[in-house]
Amino acid sequence: MDYILEGFVEAIQLILSFDPEIYQIVSLSLFVSFTSTAVSTLIGVPAGIFLGIHQFRGKKWVSRLLYTFMSFPPVIIGLFTALLLSRSGPFGQYKLMYTSTAMIIAQTLLVTPIITGVIFNYTSGNGQIIVETGKTLGAKGFSLLLLIVTELRATIMIALVTGFGRAISEVGAVMIVGGNIKGYTRVMTTFIAMNNNMGEYSLSIAMGLILMTISFITNSILYKFVIGDLDELKN
Protein backbone atom coordinates (compact mmCIF):
# COMPACT_ATOMS: atom_id res chain seq x y z
CA MET A 1 0.00 0.00 0.00
CA ASP A 2 2.93 2.35 0.74
CA TYR A 3 3.96 2.55 -2.87
CA ILE A 4 0.51 3.90 -3.78
CA LEU A 5 0.72 6.62 -1.11
CA GLU A 6 4.28 7.44 -2.12
CA GLY A 7 3.09 7.54 -5.68
CA PHE A 8 0.51 10.19 -4.79
CA VAL A 9 3.08 12.32 -2.90
CA GLU A 10 5.54 12.10 -5.77
CA ALA A 11 2.77 12.84 -8.22
CA ILE A 12 1.86 16.08 -6.45
CA GLN A 13 5.52 17.06 -6.25
CA LEU A 14 5.85 16.36 -9.95
CA ILE A 15 2.83 18.48 -10.83
CA LEU A 16 4.13 21.35 -8.70
CA SER A 17 7.61 21.07 -10.21
CA PHE A 18 6.19 22.28 -13.55
CA ASP A 19 8.10 19.62 -15.46
CA PRO A 20 8.04 20.85 -19.08
CA GLU A 21 7.59 17.31 -20.43
CA ILE A 22 4.44 16.78 -18.36
CA TYR A 23 2.92 20.05 -19.49
CA GLN A 24 3.88 19.39 -23.12
CA ILE A 25 2.05 16.06 -22.92
CA VAL A 26 -0.99 17.68 -21.30
CA SER A 27 -1.15 20.45 -23.89
CA LEU A 28 -0.81 17.99 -26.79
CA SER A 29 -3.58 15.83 -25.28
CA LEU A 30 -5.85 18.84 -24.94
CA PHE A 31 -5.05 20.04 -28.46
CA VAL A 32 -5.74 16.63 -30.05
CA SER A 33 -8.93 16.02 -28.06
CA PHE A 34 -10.34 19.53 -28.45
CA THR A 35 -9.62 19.53 -32.18
CA SER A 36 -11.17 16.11 -32.76
CA THR A 37 -14.22 17.06 -30.65
CA ALA A 38 -14.60 20.31 -32.59
CA VAL A 39 -14.45 18.51 -35.95
CA SER A 40 -16.85 15.84 -34.67
CA THR A 41 -19.21 18.58 -33.51
CA LEU A 42 -19.28 20.16 -36.95
CA ILE A 43 -20.21 16.78 -38.44
CA GLY A 44 -22.17 15.16 -35.62
CA VAL A 45 -24.50 17.96 -34.55
CA PRO A 46 -26.08 18.62 -37.98
CA ALA A 47 -26.06 14.89 -38.78
CA GLY A 48 -27.75 14.00 -35.47
CA ILE A 49 -30.38 16.70 -35.91
CA PHE A 50 -31.04 15.76 -39.54
CA LEU A 51 -31.31 12.02 -38.87
CA GLY A 52 -33.38 12.54 -35.73
CA ILE A 53 -35.90 14.94 -37.19
CA HIS A 54 -36.51 13.36 -40.57
CA GLN A 55 -38.56 10.26 -41.15
CA PHE A 56 -37.16 8.06 -43.87
CA ARG A 57 -37.08 4.47 -44.96
CA GLY A 58 -34.31 2.56 -43.20
CA LYS A 59 -34.14 4.90 -40.19
CA LYS A 60 -34.11 1.93 -37.82
CA TRP A 61 -31.08 0.51 -39.58
CA VAL A 62 -29.33 3.86 -39.45
CA SER A 63 -29.92 4.04 -35.70
CA ARG A 64 -28.64 0.48 -35.18
CA LEU A 65 -25.54 1.29 -37.19
CA LEU A 66 -25.04 4.51 -35.27
CA TYR A 67 -25.32 2.82 -31.89
CA THR A 68 -22.88 0.12 -33.05
CA PHE A 69 -20.36 2.80 -34.04
CA MET A 70 -20.88 4.51 -30.68
CA SER A 71 -19.56 1.44 -28.90
CA PHE A 72 -16.73 0.66 -31.32
CA PRO A 73 -13.50 -0.26 -29.48
CA PRO A 74 -10.86 2.47 -29.90
CA VAL A 75 -8.23 -0.08 -30.95
CA ILE A 76 -10.39 -1.07 -33.90
CA ILE A 77 -10.75 2.58 -34.88
CA GLY A 78 -6.99 2.95 -34.44
CA LEU A 79 -6.34 -0.09 -36.59
CA PHE A 80 -8.76 1.14 -39.28
CA THR A 81 -7.14 4.58 -39.29
CA ALA A 82 -3.67 3.03 -39.42
CA LEU A 83 -4.66 0.92 -42.41
CA LEU A 84 -5.84 4.06 -44.20
CA LEU A 85 -2.81 6.17 -43.30
CA SER A 86 0.00 3.62 -43.45
CA ARG A 87 2.55 3.99 -46.21
CA SER A 88 0.85 1.36 -48.40
CA GLY A 89 -2.67 2.56 -47.49
CA PRO A 90 -4.91 4.76 -49.67
CA PHE A 91 -3.77 7.93 -47.87
CA GLY A 92 -0.16 6.83 -47.34
CA GLN A 93 1.14 9.52 -49.68
CA TYR A 94 0.25 12.22 -47.11
CA LYS A 95 2.66 10.70 -44.54
CA LEU A 96 0.29 11.25 -41.64
CA MET A 97 1.05 8.09 -39.69
CA TYR A 98 2.62 8.79 -36.26
CA THR A 99 1.61 12.44 -36.30
CA SER A 100 -0.83 14.40 -34.17
CA THR A 101 -3.01 14.76 -37.29
CA ALA A 102 -3.39 10.97 -37.41
CA MET A 103 -4.43 11.03 -33.76
CA ILE A 104 -6.99 13.74 -34.48
CA ILE A 105 -8.38 11.70 -37.40
CA ALA A 106 -8.67 8.55 -35.26
CA GLN A 107 -10.35 10.41 -32.42
CA THR A 108 -12.71 12.16 -34.84
CA LEU A 109 -13.79 8.76 -36.16
CA LEU A 110 -14.29 7.64 -32.58
CA VAL A 111 -16.15 10.71 -31.30
CA THR A 112 -18.36 11.62 -34.28
CA PRO A 113 -20.76 8.66 -33.83
CA ILE A 114 -21.03 9.46 -30.11
CA ILE A 115 -22.02 13.09 -30.69
CA THR A 116 -24.31 12.12 -33.57
CA GLY A 117 -25.87 9.32 -31.53
CA VAL A 118 -26.60 11.39 -28.43
CA ILE A 119 -28.24 14.13 -30.49
CA PHE A 120 -30.04 11.64 -32.73
CA ASN A 121 -31.45 9.86 -29.69
CA TYR A 122 -32.91 13.06 -28.25
CA THR A 123 -34.15 14.61 -31.48
CA SER A 124 -35.84 11.36 -32.55
CA GLY A 125 -38.19 11.82 -29.63
CA ASN A 126 -38.37 15.58 -29.24
CA GLY A 127 -37.00 17.18 -32.38
CA GLN A 128 -40.16 16.93 -34.44
CA ILE A 129 -42.23 19.01 -32.03
CA ILE A 130 -39.58 21.73 -31.98
CA VAL A 131 -39.59 21.87 -35.78
CA GLU A 132 -43.39 21.87 -35.94
CA THR A 133 -43.68 24.59 -33.32
CA GLY A 134 -41.10 26.71 -35.11
CA LYS A 135 -42.70 26.21 -38.51
CA THR A 136 -46.20 27.06 -37.32
CA LEU A 137 -44.90 30.22 -35.65
CA GLY A 138 -43.19 31.34 -38.84
CA ALA A 139 -39.61 30.11 -38.47
CA LYS A 140 -37.93 28.67 -41.52
CA GLY A 141 -34.46 28.29 -42.96
CA PHE A 142 -31.83 29.81 -40.70
CA SER A 143 -34.30 30.97 -38.04
CA LEU A 144 -35.64 27.41 -37.76
CA LEU A 145 -32.13 25.99 -37.49
CA LEU A 146 -31.29 28.57 -34.83
CA LEU A 147 -34.41 27.62 -32.89
CA ILE A 148 -33.55 23.90 -33.06
CA VAL A 149 -29.98 24.48 -31.88
CA THR A 150 -31.16 26.82 -29.10
CA GLU A 151 -33.75 24.34 -27.87
CA LEU A 152 -31.27 21.47 -28.07
CA ARG A 153 -28.40 23.32 -26.42
CA ALA A 154 -28.44 21.19 -23.26
CA THR A 155 -28.34 18.00 -25.32
CA ILE A 156 -25.61 19.40 -27.54
CA MET A 157 -23.54 20.31 -24.48
CA ILE A 158 -23.96 16.83 -23.06
CA ALA A 159 -22.98 15.30 -26.41
CA LEU A 160 -19.87 17.47 -26.61
CA VAL A 161 -18.72 16.67 -23.09
CA THR A 162 -19.39 12.97 -23.60
CA GLY A 163 -17.45 13.08 -26.86
CA PHE A 164 -14.58 15.03 -25.31
CA GLY A 165 -14.49 12.64 -22.37
CA ARG A 166 -14.21 9.72 -24.75
CA ALA A 167 -11.47 11.45 -26.77
CA ILE A 168 -9.26 12.50 -23.90
CA SER A 169 -9.51 9.20 -22.07
CA GLU A 170 -8.98 6.74 -24.91
CA VAL A 171 -5.61 5.08 -25.34
CA GLY A 172 -5.94 2.37 -27.99
CA ALA A 173 -6.42 4.46 -31.10
CA VAL A 174 -3.82 7.14 -30.31
CA MET A 175 -1.30 4.47 -29.34
CA ILE A 176 -1.67 2.74 -32.71
CA VAL A 177 -1.70 5.79 -35.00
CA GLY A 178 0.46 8.08 -32.83
CA GLY A 179 3.02 5.58 -31.65
CA ASN A 180 3.60 7.32 -28.28
CA ILE A 181 6.68 9.15 -29.57
CA LYS A 182 8.27 11.30 -26.86
CA GLY A 183 7.84 15.02 -27.44
CA TYR A 184 5.83 14.39 -30.57
CA THR A 185 2.79 12.14 -30.19
CA ARG A 186 2.88 11.22 -26.51
CA VAL A 187 -0.38 12.07 -24.81
CA MET A 188 -1.63 11.60 -21.23
CA THR A 189 -3.19 8.18 -21.68
CA THR A 190 -0.27 6.66 -23.59
CA PHE A 191 2.09 8.19 -21.01
CA ILE A 192 0.15 6.53 -18.18
CA ALA A 193 0.06 3.16 -19.94
CA MET A 194 3.77 3.29 -20.71
CA ASN A 195 4.86 4.31 -17.20
CA ASN A 196 2.60 1.72 -15.65
CA ASN A 197 4.30 -0.95 -17.74
CA MET A 198 7.69 0.36 -16.59
CA GLY A 199 6.65 0.37 -12.92
CA GLU A 200 6.87 4.18 -12.69
CA TYR A 201 3.71 4.51 -10.68
CA SER A 202 4.28 8.06 -9.43
CA LEU A 203 4.40 9.36 -12.98
CA SER A 204 1.28 7.39 -13.87
CA ILE A 205 -0.56 8.67 -10.80
CA ALA A 206 0.53 12.27 -11.50
CA MET A 207 -0.83 12.11 -15.02
CA GLY A 208 -3.92 10.29 -13.76
CA LEU A 209 -4.59 13.15 -11.33
CA ILE A 210 -4.27 15.70 -14.12
CA LEU A 211 -6.60 13.65 -16.32
CA MET A 212 -9.17 13.44 -13.54
CA THR A 213 -8.87 17.18 -12.88
CA ILE A 214 -9.55 17.92 -16.55
CA SER A 215 -12.51 15.56 -16.45
CA PHE A 216 -13.80 17.33 -13.33
CA ILE A 217 -13.41 20.76 -14.94
CA THR A 218 -15.26 19.76 -18.13
CA ASN A 219 -18.08 18.20 -16.13
CA SER A 220 -18.28 21.31 -13.95
CA ILE A 221 -18.61 23.44 -17.07
CA LEU A 222 -21.40 21.16 -18.28
CA TYR A 223 -23.14 21.44 -14.91
CA LYS A 224 -22.85 25.22 -14.88
CA PHE A 225 -24.18 25.71 -18.39
CA VAL A 226 -26.76 22.95 -18.50
CA ILE A 227 -28.27 22.95 -15.02
CA GLY A 228 -30.70 25.72 -15.95
CA ASP A 229 -31.88 23.83 -19.01
CA LEU A 230 -32.44 20.36 -17.60
CA ASP A 231 -36.19 20.83 -18.05
CA GLU A 232 -35.56 20.46 -21.76
CA LEU A 233 -34.46 16.89 -21.18
CA LYS A 234 -37.50 16.11 -19.06
CA ASN A 235 -39.97 17.10 -21.78
Binding site: E132, T136, L137, E151, R153
Partner: protein
Protein backbone atom coordinates in the same frame (compact mmCIF):
# COMPACT_ATOMS: atom_id res chain seq x y z
CA UNK B 1 -60.78 34.91 -47.19
CA UNK B 2 -62.14 31.39 -47.03
CA UNK B 3 -60.41 28.05 -46.87
CA UNK B 4 -61.56 25.47 -49.38
CA UNK B 5 -60.70 21.80 -49.05
CA UNK B 6 -60.89 19.93 -52.31
CA UNK B 7 -60.95 16.11 -52.28
CA UNK B 8 -58.07 15.68 -49.85
CA UNK B 9 -56.82 12.15 -49.37
CA UNK B 10 -54.14 10.84 -47.06
CA UNK B 11 -52.84 7.29 -47.20
CA UNK B 12 -50.32 5.93 -44.67
CA UNK B 13 -48.82 2.73 -46.01
CA UNK B 14 -51.90 0.91 -47.19
CA UNK B 15 -54.33 2.59 -44.83
CA UNK B 16 -56.48 5.49 -45.98
CA UNK B 17 -56.76 7.76 -42.95
CA UNK B 18 -58.49 10.65 -44.66
CA UNK B 19 -60.63 10.71 -47.77
CA UNK B 20 -62.65 13.87 -48.26
CA UNK B 21 -64.96 13.37 -51.21
CA UNK B 22 -66.35 16.90 -51.19
CA UNK B 23 -65.10 19.16 -53.95
CA UNK B 24 -65.42 22.33 -51.94
CA UNK B 25 -65.53 21.93 -48.20
CA UNK B 26 -65.45 25.55 -47.07
CA UNK B 27 -64.31 27.00 -43.75
CA UNK B 28 -65.42 30.61 -43.75
CA UNK B 29 -63.70 33.67 -42.32
CA UNK B 30 -65.08 35.51 -39.35
CA UNK B 31 -66.29 32.19 -37.97
CA UNK B 32 -65.15 29.55 -35.56
CA UNK B 33 -65.37 26.31 -37.50
CA UNK B 34 -65.45 23.20 -35.34
CA UNK B 35 -64.29 19.74 -36.38
CA UNK B 36 -65.62 16.88 -34.33
CA UNK B 37 -65.59 13.12 -34.55
CA UNK B 38 -64.33 10.02 -32.76
CA UNK B 39 -60.63 9.36 -32.06
CA UNK B 40 -58.65 8.32 -35.13
CA UNK B 41 -61.23 9.70 -37.53
CA UNK B 42 -58.73 11.90 -39.41
CA UNK B 43 -59.44 15.28 -37.81
CA UNK B 44 -55.85 15.97 -36.78
CA UNK B 45 -54.55 14.63 -40.09
CA UNK B 46 -56.69 17.17 -41.94
CA UNK B 47 -55.46 19.97 -39.71
CA UNK B 48 -51.82 18.91 -40.08
CA UNK B 49 -52.23 18.86 -43.86
CA UNK B 50 -53.61 22.41 -43.80
CA UNK B 51 -50.70 23.49 -41.58
CA UNK B 52 -48.19 21.76 -43.90
CA UNK B 53 -46.98 19.50 -41.11
CA UNK B 54 -47.80 16.50 -43.25
CA UNK B 55 -48.46 16.21 -46.97
CA UNK B 56 -51.68 15.05 -48.58
CA UNK B 57 -51.51 12.06 -50.88
CA UNK B 58 -53.86 13.89 -53.25
CA UNK B 59 -56.21 16.85 -53.35
CA UNK B 60 -55.78 20.59 -53.00
CA UNK B 61 -56.44 23.32 -50.49
CA UNK B 62 -57.37 26.81 -51.60
CA UNK B 63 -57.14 29.97 -49.59
CA UNK B 64 -59.30 32.66 -51.14
CA UNK B 65 -59.22 30.79 -54.48
CA UNK B 66 -55.42 30.53 -54.52
CA UNK B 67 -53.67 27.25 -53.75
CA UNK B 68 -52.41 27.32 -50.16
CA UNK B 69 -48.66 27.78 -50.69
CA UNK B 70 -45.73 28.74 -48.47
CA UNK B 71 -46.45 32.45 -48.79
CA UNK B 72 -50.07 32.06 -47.73
CA UNK B 73 -49.06 29.67 -44.96
CA UNK B 74 -47.19 32.57 -43.34
CA UNK B 75 -50.66 33.83 -42.40
CA UNK B 76 -51.64 30.70 -40.51
CA UNK B 77 -50.68 29.28 -37.18
CA UNK B 78 -51.35 26.03 -35.40
CA UNK B 79 -51.55 25.06 -31.75
CA UNK B 80 -51.97 21.50 -30.56
CA UNK B 81 -53.07 20.09 -27.21
CA UNK B 82 -49.42 19.42 -26.33
CA UNK B 83 -48.08 22.92 -26.44
CA UNK B 84 -44.31 23.04 -26.80
CA UNK B 85 -42.90 25.90 -24.82
CA UNK B 86 -39.62 27.41 -25.97
CA UNK B 87 -36.83 27.66 -23.38
CA UNK B 88 -37.71 31.29 -22.76
CA UNK B 89 -39.95 33.26 -20.44
CA UNK B 90 -43.71 33.45 -21.01
CA UNK B 91 -43.39 36.95 -22.46
CA UNK B 92 -40.48 35.95 -24.72
CA UNK B 93 -42.54 33.01 -26.01
CA UNK B 94 -45.35 35.40 -26.95
CA UNK B 95 -42.90 37.78 -28.60
CA UNK B 96 -41.13 35.07 -30.59
CA UNK B 97 -43.42 35.11 -33.70
CA UNK B 98 -43.26 38.92 -33.68
CA UNK B 99 -39.47 38.84 -33.61
CA UNK B 100 -39.48 36.49 -36.59
CA UNK B 101 -41.65 38.99 -38.46
CA UNK B 102 -39.34 41.90 -37.59
CA UNK B 103 -41.86 43.82 -35.48
CA UNK B 104 -40.26 46.76 -33.68
CA UNK B 105 -39.44 46.30 -30.00
CA UNK B 106 -42.13 48.81 -29.07
CA UNK B 107 -44.77 46.86 -30.99
CA UNK B 108 -43.52 43.58 -29.55
CA UNK B 109 -43.90 44.96 -26.05
CA UNK B 110 -47.33 46.41 -26.72
CA UNK B 111 -48.74 43.27 -28.34
CA UNK B 112 -47.22 41.01 -25.70
CA UNK B 113 -48.79 43.17 -22.97
CA UNK B 114 -52.19 42.88 -24.66
CA UNK B 115 -51.89 39.12 -24.98
CA UNK B 116 -50.73 38.72 -21.38
CA UNK B 117 -53.77 40.66 -20.26
CA UNK B 118 -56.24 38.78 -22.50
CA UNK B 119 -55.01 35.40 -21.29
CA UNK B 120 -54.48 36.56 -17.69
CA UNK B 121 -50.79 35.72 -17.75
CA UNK B 122 -49.36 38.99 -16.36
CA UNK B 123 -48.40 37.43 -13.04
CA UNK B 124 -46.22 34.81 -14.69
CA UNK B 125 -44.81 36.84 -17.57
CA UNK B 126 -41.19 36.45 -16.39
CA UNK B 127 -41.50 32.77 -15.49
CA UNK B 128 -39.70 30.13 -17.52
CA UNK B 129 -42.36 28.74 -19.84
CA UNK B 130 -41.00 25.21 -19.46
CA UNK B 131 -42.14 25.21 -15.83
CA UNK B 132 -45.77 26.15 -16.49
CA UNK B 133 -48.79 24.04 -15.63
CA UNK B 134 -50.88 22.54 -18.44
CA UNK B 135 -53.45 25.33 -18.42
CA UNK B 136 -50.84 28.09 -18.25
CA UNK B 137 -48.84 26.50 -21.06
CA UNK B 138 -51.94 26.20 -23.23
CA UNK B 139 -52.88 29.83 -22.62
CA UNK B 140 -49.30 30.90 -23.42
CA UNK B 141 -49.34 28.81 -26.61
CA UNK B 142 -52.55 30.45 -27.73
CA UNK B 143 -51.35 33.94 -26.79
CA UNK B 144 -48.20 33.22 -28.79
CA UNK B 145 -50.17 31.88 -31.76
CA UNK B 146 -52.46 34.90 -31.84
CA UNK B 147 -49.74 37.50 -31.26
CA UNK B 148 -49.04 38.19 -34.93
CA UNK B 149 -52.76 38.36 -35.86
CA UNK B 150 -52.88 35.27 -38.09
CA UNK B 151 -55.58 34.97 -40.71
CA UNK B 152 -56.03 31.26 -40.18
CA UNK B 153 -55.94 29.83 -36.69
CA UNK B 154 -55.74 26.04 -36.42
CA UNK B 155 -56.38 24.60 -32.98
CA UNK B 156 -56.14 20.89 -32.28
CA UNK B 157 -57.97 20.23 -29.00
CA UNK B 158 -56.53 23.32 -27.31
CA UNK B 159 -58.52 22.83 -24.12
CA UNK B 160 -58.08 19.08 -23.67
CA UNK B 161 -57.14 18.14 -20.09
CA UNK B 162 -56.83 21.65 -18.68
CA UNK B 163 -58.65 23.34 -15.80
CA UNK B 164 -62.14 24.86 -16.29
CA UNK B 165 -60.95 28.40 -15.58
CA UNK B 166 -58.28 28.20 -18.29
CA UNK B 167 -60.87 26.75 -20.68
CA UNK B 168 -63.13 29.73 -19.98
CA UNK B 169 -60.30 32.21 -20.59
CA UNK B 170 -59.34 30.50 -23.85
CA UNK B 171 -62.93 30.35 -25.09
CA UNK B 172 -63.59 34.00 -24.31
CA UNK B 173 -60.31 34.97 -26.06
CA UNK B 174 -61.41 33.06 -29.15
CA UNK B 175 -64.85 34.65 -29.12
CA UNK B 176 -63.27 38.08 -28.67
CA UNK B 177 -61.08 37.47 -31.73
CA UNK B 178 -64.09 36.45 -33.79
CA UNK B 179 -64.95 40.11 -34.33
CA UNK B 180 -62.05 40.17 -36.79
CA UNK B 181 -63.86 39.29 -40.06
CA UNK B 182 -60.61 38.20 -41.70
CA UNK B 183 -59.76 35.58 -39.09
CA UNK B 184 -60.68 32.02 -39.89
CA UNK B 185 -60.56 29.74 -36.85
CA UNK B 186 -60.73 25.98 -37.17
CA UNK B 187 -60.87 24.06 -33.93
CA UNK B 188 -60.87 20.33 -33.24
CA UNK B 189 -62.72 19.45 -30.08
CA UNK B 190 -64.08 16.34 -28.41
CA UNK B 191 -66.24 18.42 -26.18
CA UNK B 192 -69.62 18.79 -27.85
CA UNK B 193 -70.89 21.35 -25.36
CA UNK B 194 -67.80 23.46 -26.07
CA UNK B 195 -68.45 23.09 -29.80
CA UNK B 196 -71.97 24.41 -29.26
CA UNK B 197 -70.72 27.26 -27.06
CA UNK B 198 -68.16 28.70 -29.47
CA UNK B 199 -68.51 27.20 -32.97
CA UNK B 200 -70.50 28.75 -35.80
CA UNK B 201 -70.24 25.66 -37.99
CA UNK B 202 -69.47 22.02 -37.31
CA UNK B 203 -67.92 19.34 -39.49
CA UNK B 204 -68.23 15.73 -38.42
CA UNK B 205 -65.51 13.33 -39.57
CA UNK B 206 -65.75 9.57 -39.22
CA UNK B 207 -63.16 7.10 -40.54
CA UNK B 208 -61.67 9.75 -42.78
CA UNK B 209 -64.97 10.74 -44.35
CA UNK B 210 -67.08 13.81 -43.75
CA UNK B 211 -70.54 12.81 -42.62
CA UNK B 212 -71.85 16.26 -41.79
CA UNK B 213 -71.01 19.89 -42.30
CA UNK B 214 -73.33 22.71 -41.32
CA UNK B 215 -74.80 24.59 -38.37
CA UNK B 216 -74.46 23.08 -34.88
CA UNK B 217 -78.23 22.95 -34.41
CA UNK B 218 -78.63 20.94 -37.60
CA UNK B 219 -76.12 18.37 -36.37
CA UNK B 220 -78.45 17.54 -33.49
CA UNK B 221 -81.19 16.62 -35.96
CA UNK B 222 -79.02 14.73 -38.41
CA UNK B 223 -80.43 11.24 -39.01
CA UNK B 224 -77.06 9.52 -39.49
CA UNK B 225 -76.82 6.79 -36.80
CA UNK B 226 -73.07 7.31 -36.32
CA UNK B 227 -73.64 10.98 -35.54
CA UNK B 228 -76.58 10.13 -33.31
CA UNK B 229 -74.43 7.67 -31.38
CA UNK B 230 -71.59 10.21 -31.05
CA UNK B 231 -74.01 12.81 -29.69
CA UNK B 232 -75.55 10.35 -27.27
CA UNK B 233 -72.12 9.61 -25.76
CA UNK B 234 -71.37 13.30 -25.20
Amino acid sequence: MNLKINQIKKIYGEKTVLSIQQENLVFRNGQINGIIGPNGSGKSTLMRIIADLTTATSGTIFYDNSPLDDDLRKLLTYASQQAFMLSKTVEENIRYPLKLRNYSKVDQQRIAAEQLETFQLEAIRTQKAKNLSGGEAQKTALARALSFSPKLLLLDEPTASIDPQSIKIIESALLKRKVDPSLNTIIITHNLSQAFRICDTLTFIHQGNILFTGLPDDLMHDPNPIIKEFISFN
